[in-house]
């Protein structure tokens, strides 16, 4: 706790967008996936959130920086699983959107008929999870990002 944060840790985070921008980006990504599932897979657009945004201060080498990670509110599409025949296309959509925003190829957590869960990761520590069984789920957590006040591009005069 007493150790001064390293300059390189700050510089690394300063090269990333601030957390408010990333929250908006995650919301945009989620909406993009949801919209494409509606138009290309025919999943009804009845997504709802099941919890609230949750915030944690960064740990490890970023621990003493004014930086946080955010668990975005979880999304649920109750009563609407993705039919098995449509899962490959749904996974393609998820993979494409993830790739567009710099995430790795999704990895399977569960992959059985009518029971799928995948998870995609970003070098900055962010993760998206997407799955379907009796209903469809989509959730994400951001990586570690400076707050607006700490970020060189948005901090007022500092």
């Amino acid at each position: 706790m007493d150790a001064e944060p390293s300059k390189s840790a700050f510089q690394e985070l300063a090269a990333r967008p601030n957390i408010e921008a990333v929250i908006s980006e995650h919301a945009e990504i989620e909406r993009e996936i949801q919209r494409r599932l509606v138009t290309e897979v025919g999943l009804p657009d009845s997504w709802e959130t099941t919890d609230e945004e949750s915030e944690n201060w960064c740990t490890g080498e970023y621990e003493d920086l004014d930086a946080v990670t955010i668990h975005m509110p979880n999304w649920a599409n109750f009563d609407h699983p993705i039919p098995e025949a449509d899962w490959p296309r749904a996974l393609e959509i998820f993979t494409e959107v993830m790739g567009k925003y710099g995430f790795d190829m999704p990895k399977a957590v569960v992959d059985r008929p009518n029971d799928h869960l995948v998870s995609a990761h970003h070098d900055n520590g962010a993760e998206f999870s997407f799955g379907t069984k009796k209903a469809t789920s989509l959730s994400s957590v951001t990586g570690c990002h400076l707050t607006e006040r700490a970020h060189p591009k948005t901090a007022n005069g500092s």
Binding site: M1, D2, A9, I19, T50, D51, E52, E53, S54, E55, N56, W57, C58, T59, G60, E61, Y62, E63, D66, V68, T69, H71, N74, A76, F78, D79, P81, K107, A108, V109, V110, D111, R112, D115, L117, V118, S119, H121, G125, A126, E127, S129, G131, T132, K133, K134, A135, T136, S137, S139, V141, G143, C144, T147
Partner: protein
């Protein structure tokens, strides 16, 4: 003596309705007193008649003094009693809900009627349910006792005020010289006492829950504000109330520690010079310990404060204890008072509030998110999850040289176990319904958890152990957890789970015990090119890659399995290689 059937009939609304008219009456009297004061000696009027009129006015004002005091006492007592009846009735409702949910009922005389283990209880769970019901019965007896004690207090306090009003003695002890002062004296007479809490050090969770249940909302708020130290760490009180109290305590605790450091520094100056070296070293150690505690407080504050400096939504500070060698704390993600599924994670050796709490709260937040995704995938709308990191004990710390030297005695696990059991029971007792509760223990935390579940009856429904040096049993069946609801993970290259001479000391190697599901930590390849992450080593069951300084989320086999267990729908695929 008030009976259970009396209390069930109590209704504070008639008292509440009388408060408005009493207020009006009081204000009229005060105005009349002021008018009388003005006409007591009108300008330009003198002589015997003027003196007589003035004297009569004075008598009237004096007579109104008792009356004003009585009305002030009545309106204060009516307000407080109506409020307190609300608390007592809340205690009745909670007790009856607990009784109903567990197949008991409360008779008119307050005795508990046991209607037996519910007929639809599966055969393999009957024994565990019977044990759980014995605990609930004790809790119910405490709840009834506390409700009746509070009801007696309210009844006695209210009767005392009414006696004073009827006996015209409200203003008797007052030397009030105005109606307003008489009113103040009456307000003092009309105040009721708040039921005294059970002793902080040795009250049972049932006693704590029962006491808190009988307080009104207003009384609870007053207690949290005025005596947060009496509320924050009391197992059996709702998490939201504990958290409100503990957050209030942070500043006071910081000031206390800062003063302690100043005092020690002054002592050190006195002991300076030859001959004082030993003493100085002792003082230095004390200062270092207090500074470490200050760091821990800062870590706790950070955990529950958001980037805007506001209390973090969805976090509850359920424990803050600065006594002993190190600070103890428990932080929840989600709402422990309302969640359908609550998981309590107990970290292991080398865990400290100042250095690890943030990490654990983040790990358990991820677990909450994964478990809620699983609820969604199962189409279980409306169910929710809360996860708690419980660092309410002082796990052993390894020294820099002898890696496992400090781990050969299990004292802190044995000391921590009863506290952990109380914490589990406190969550159950604070709620009318019992949440589906999962205990997750890592490393030394799994040993502490093992002792807690072996030696105590708790409301824990599922128990998971990972990276364990032992759990104090030779068979999972020794744990007071429903049969077939115990799980263990042991990753490749986990040295702690295989310390020679230590594992045997704390029971059989956990993955060799019967009555325990041995869960996979291996990667899982469901299709070419797709695979889950294996967890390796001692500290990657819930989170990985932190060793690289990168707070990276990689969803692992063990996390998925824990998420499924937490929602009561374990998934045993994939299984470990035979």
């Amino acid at each position: 003596m008030v009976s259970w059937s009396d209390v069930k009939q109590w209704n504070g609304s008639a008292l509440a309705e009388a408060i408005g008219p009493l207020n009006r009456e009081y204000n009229e009297l005060i105005n009349a007193g002021e008018d009388l004061g003005k006409i007591q000696s009108p300008d330009g009027w003198s002589g015997q008649a003027a003196q007589a009129a003035g004297s009569r006015c004075g008598e009237l004002v004096e007579a109104l003094g008792e009356w004003t005091g009585e009305i002030a006492a009545a309106r204060t007592a009516f307000t407080a009693t109506s409020d307190a009846i609300g608390g007592v009735k809340n205690g009745v409702t909670e007790a009856e809900e607990v009784a109903k949910a567990n197949n008991f009922s409360i008779a008119d005389d307050g005795s508990i009627a046991d209607h037996g283990v519910p007929a639809d209880t599966p055969q393999d769970q009957r024994e565990a349910v019977a044990e759980e019901r014995a605990r609930v019965k004790t809790e119910l007896e405490e709840r009834v006792k506390n409700v009746l004690r509070s009801a007696d207090d309210v009844d006695n306090d209210f009767c005392k005020v009414l006696d004073k009003i009827l006996g015209d003695t409200v203003d008797a002890d007052s030397d009030a010289t105005s109606l307003a002062a008489a009113g103040k004296a009456g307000t003092k007479v009309g105040s009721l006492t708040i039921p005294t809490p059970p002793p902080l050090s040795d009250a049972t969770v049932a006693q704590n829950a029962a006491w808190w249940a009988t307080l009104s909302e207003a009384q609870r708020k007053r207690f949290i504000q005025d005596f947060p130290g009496q509320v924050g760490n009391r197992d059996g009180i709702p998490a939201s109330d504990r958290s409100a109290a503990n957050v209030l305590r942070i500043d006071d605790e910081r000031t206390r520690l800062q003063n302690r450091i100043k005092q020690l520094q002054a002592e050190r100056r006195e002991h300076g010079g030859p001959g004082g070296v030993g003493e100085e070293m002792t003082i230095n150690r004390k200062i270092a310990r207090a500074e470490e505690k200050l760091d821990s407080l800062a870590a706790v504050e950070r955990t529950v404060t958001d980037r805007h400096g506001e209390p973090k939504a969805g976090k509850q500070l359920m424990l803050l204890d600065t006594s002993g060698e190190r600070v103890k704390a428990a932080v929840a993600n989600g709402d422990v008072d309302k969640a359908d599924h609550v998981a309590v994670f107990t970290p292991g050796m080398n865990s400290r509030v100042d250095t690890n709490l943030d990490d654990y709260v983040q790990d358990t937040d991820a677990l909450k998110r994964h478990a809620e995704d699983e609820l969604t995938r199962e189409n279980r709308r409306g169910e929710s999850v809360a996860t708690v990191t419980w660092l309410g004990y002082e796990p052993p710390q390894t020294n820099p040289d002898g890696i496992f030297e400090a781990v050969v005695t299990g004292d802190s696990a044995e000391e921590g176990a009863p506290k952990l059991a109380e914490f589990y029971n406190g969550i159950d007792a604070s709620r009318a319904d019992n949440p589906h509760m999962t205990a997750l223990g890592h490393s030394w935390g799994s040993l502490t958890q093992g002792y807690a579940l072996r030696d105590h009856e708790t409301g824990v429904d599922e128990a998971g152990f990972f990276g364990s040096p032992g759990i104090g049993t030779d068979s999972g069946k020794e744990l007071n957890v429903p049969e077939n609801h115990v799980y263990a993970w042991e990753a490749r290259e986990d040295a702690v789970a295989n310390i020679p001479g230590v594992v045997e000391r704390y029971g059989k190697d956990v993955v060799e015990q019967d009555g325990i599901h041995h869960m996979s930590t291996e990667e899982y390849e469901p299709a070419p090119g797709q695979r889950t992450e294996a967890s390796t080593g001692h500290s990657e069951y819930m989170k990985s890659e932190r060793s690289q300084g990168q707070s990276s989320e990689v969803y692992q086999t063990s996390e998925y399995a824990m998420a499924r267990i937490m929602i009561g729908s374990p998934d045993f695929t994939p299984v470990p290689e035979p």
